[in-house]
């Protein structure tokens, strides 16, 4: 049996290189289930997963739900809008209430960075971080690694550029930690107002101009402009953004032969990329979504003891 000794998935940082490949390999063996006529196996029959989301999510939540159901786990959704403290209940109390109902795992999305760390200190059941504030989104990074490996055959030694609102992107942080850990060379690009201070401290290089940044890259990851997270004045407008930082046919002249373009979604069409780019031959956006189910199936198996017993 494979060694996998984590109770929680809080951060990519906690995973070793071996852990990451264990997850990707497990996903690979589970992926074919989604292609079957009867898409259900009894691996997690009798197990209970709570999807606790307090921020809107379509893709991640659906992906987890489908993944759990394909493994025969029972899934319960628990959503709160905004802060639970506004109702007089603290987050810890809410989660302890969920814990009292004895689920086997909580998949958690929260608008505040670091929440999975806090909960992992306080509760006994496993937590999978499905996105915490602007900090991390480890399962997205893992499915992107899976997609990169599937398309390019490897991760080590690849050149990857991430373009867009790095500062407010939990996807970017998880991608950076995961890719650098596996030996890829990561470049960040985008407007200086959306570049976190001392970004180089994460082991990456920064090239603001996207036309220069994409040259020679094997993988181009575009990030969503998160209008909802911007307090103010990070860029003058969407028109200005798309003409200087968006991907369009013009800029694609600089792209390397065989490169892939990824986007964690949801895409603001015409902003991060023009429609012809999104629908063009470089784009692997829908493969990412499909692989998301396989990777999350693998995580549910590994974290709910499917392989630990």
């Amino acid at each position: 049996m494979v060694m996998f000794n984590h109770k929680h998935l809080v951060s990519i940082k906690q995973l070793s290189v071996e852990d990451i490949y264990t997850i990707l390999d497990a996903a690979e063996s589970l992926k074919e289930i989604s292609g079957r006529d009867i898409k259900k196996v009894p691996i997690l029959r009798g197990k209970n997963v709570v999807l606790f989301f307090n921020e809107p999510s379509t893709r991640t939540r659906t992906s987890f739900e489908i993944a759990a159901k394909r493994l025969s786990a029972d899934v319960v959704g628990f959503s709160t809008k905004g802060s639970s403290t506004t109702k007089g209940e603290t987050l810890i109390d809410t989660v302890r209430n969920i814990q009292a109902m004895s689920p086997d795992l909580i998949v958690m999305r929260h608008y505040s960075s670091g929440v999975p760390y806090m909960l992992a200190r306080k509760i006994d059941i496993g937590i999978i971080n499905a996105g915490d504030g602007i900090n991390e989104h480890p399962t997205q990074a893992l499915l992107d690694l899976y997609t990169i490996r599937e398309k390019k055959g490897r991760i080590e030694g690849l050149k990857v550029v991430i373009i867009g609102d790095i500062e407010h992107s939990r996807v970017a942080r998880s991608e950076i930690y995961a890719l650098t850990k596996l030996g890829a060379q990561v470049t960040l690009s985008g407007p200086p107002t959306m570049m976190p201070v001392q970004a180089e401290s994460m082991g990456v290089q920064v090239m603001y101009h996207p036309g220069e940044a994409i040259q020679g890259q094997d993988v181009i990851i575009l990030l969503r402009i998160q209008m909802e997270r911007h307090s103010k004045c990070l860029f003058p407008g969407l028109r200005e953004y798309s003409s200087f930082f968006g991907m369009n046919k013009e800029i694609l002249k600089y792209i390397k032969e065989g490169a892939i373009i990824m986007h964690p979604g949801p895409v603001n069409r015409g902003v991060e990329a023009s429609p012809d780019v999104m629908d063009g031959p470089f784009s692997v956006v829908l493969d990412q979504v499909a692989n998301g189910v396989a990777v999350r199936m693998a995580l549910l198996c590994l974290f709910m003891g499917g392989n630990r017993d």
Partner: protein, 433 residues
């Protein structure tokens, strides 16, 4: 008559440590005698053996939050005073951000009345600069001064309106009140929860840039130059702030400054793991800032150490990091953290004690802070060698929000005397328990 014998007496005013016996009579220091000379002929009611210990003027903390009135579940004046005497303090100056805000005579008098009832140490209220700390209208400085306020500050907020701050400084000077400024450009710091730097980037937390503090310090220095009125800068945390204050002092501008023990003991890496007890405002900065704060202390650019004791209950702290309140308690870790600076060679013992005694006393205009014949017997006896783990059970404050819990510390207060009365004793507390 009380006899403190065989202690090493620290004179912050003269920069020396002397083995002396102290004779206390009627609340005052009546005599300082070389050791081995004084004989008890029955006139001594209590002998305190300070062999192997240091005796210092009682610590004066010019920046605490006692939370009363309004937030008594976090701290009261009585519990804050208890934490103070247990930590070696004989006087506290409390900030006005209570509910209601200390912006009028009634609140100032209430605070002093609660302090009298607690009857442990001296409490000096700092009144608000503006009504309700809203930054709009000046409070009645004259009336507040007569009621017992010793300074004015909108601590927690910065007076954004520069003209209003100018008038506050001019008017405060007339009434003999020190203006204490919490320097923060709230537009730059908006939404920030820790220092903006590599660690905030890696943790996905919104940062507070050093510039938000430094810009306002530069404004206060300009206003002090314009008006000639003294201004005291609260909780200095950055290297740039130290540079600005150093230059202002060289130019003869009447500015004084304080820092808090956490700004020379911890840096922003303490936030890793999202511990709300490492969240304060200003935030813990970089190791380079910590080094600059130490140099600032050494050179006298920073005159005072103050705790910024900010009690919060688990309701404010046991929550999402973004939502957690800023601030930590500090009264009961001040002595060991300060002695660590002395052991490190940053300050001599008298230099370190000066920042807790005569310097804040002079800035607040309350007198004292030295061990001199005829002065009030406000004294603290410290065992600088005691090593221990700082535990929640050790904390007298009503709140337990300290990043030092579980840490090994060295040096602690063993006895506190206010006006000749022993108000706290470690031995007594431990035998009575």
């Amino acid at each position: 008559m009380i006899w403190i014998k065989n202690g090493k007496v620290v004179h912050p005013d003269r920069g020396m440590v002397e083995p002396l016996d102290i004779i206390i009579d009627h609340g005052k220091i009546s005599r300082l005698v070389p050791q081995g000379i004084f004989k008890n002929e029955g006139q001594v009611s209590r002998t305190i053996n300070a062999t192997g210990k240091i005796v210092v003027p009682g610590f004066i903390d010019m920046h605490v939050h006692l939370r009363e009135p309004g937030h008594e579940y976090k701290e009261t004046i009585a519990t804050g005073a208890m934490a103070g005497v247990a930590g070696g303090f004989t006087a506290l100056a409390c900030m006005p951000n209570t509910d209601p805000v200390n912006d009028c005579r009634a609140v100032t008098e209430f605070i002093l009345e609660q302090a009298r009832k607690a009857s442990l140490l001296k409490v000096y209220p700092i009144a608000a600069i503006t009504k309700g700390q809203k930054g709009e209208e000046l409070t009645e400085f004259g009336d507040l001064r007569q009621a017992g306020a010793v300074g004015v500050s909108d601590d927690g907020f910065c007076v954004t309106d520069s003209d209003l701050m100018r008038r506050a400084m001019e008017y405060a000077r007339y009434h003999g009140l020190i203006v204490i400024s919490h320097c923060e450009d709230k537009n730059l710091s908006a939404g920030g929860v820790m220092h903006e730097g590599a660690v905030s980037t890696q943790m996905g937390l919104k940062g507070i840039p050093s510039a938000s503090e430094e810009i306002m310090i530069q404004r206060e220095i300009s206003l002090a130059r314009l008006t000639g009125c003294p201004v005291h800068i609260a909780h200095v945390s950055t290297a740039g702030s130290v540079r600005s204050i150093r230059r202002a002092k060289e130019d003869g501008i009447p500015v004084t400054a304080e820092t808090a023990p956490h700004y020379f003991s911890l840096d922003h890496t303490a936030v890793m793991g999202y511990d709300p007890n490492a969240k304060m405002n200003p935030p813990l900065r970089t190791p380079e800032d910590v080094a600059a704060i130490k140099v600032g202390l050494k050179e006298g650019v920073i005159d005072v150490i103050a705790t910024d004791h900010a009690p919060h209950s688990s309701l404010e702290k046991d929550v999402e990091f973004d939502l957690a309140a800023f601030g930590i308690i500090g009264l009961e870790t001040a002595v060991p953290l300060t002695l660590a600076l002395v052991r490190e060679g940053v300050l001599t013992l008298p230099e370190a004690i000066k920042k807790w005694t005569i310097n804040p006393a002079a800035i607040l205009g309350i007198g004292g802070g030295a061990i001199k014949e005829g002065d009030s017997a406000d004294l603290t006896v410290i065992d600088s060698d005691a090593e221990y783990v700082f535990n929640i059970e050790n904390i007298h404050s009503k709140s337990k929000n300290s990043p030092f819990i579980g840490k090994k510390l060295k040096g602690r207060n063993t006895l506190t005397m206010v006006d000749g009365r022993v108000v706290w004793e470690r031995d007594a507390e431990h035998t009575s328990r």
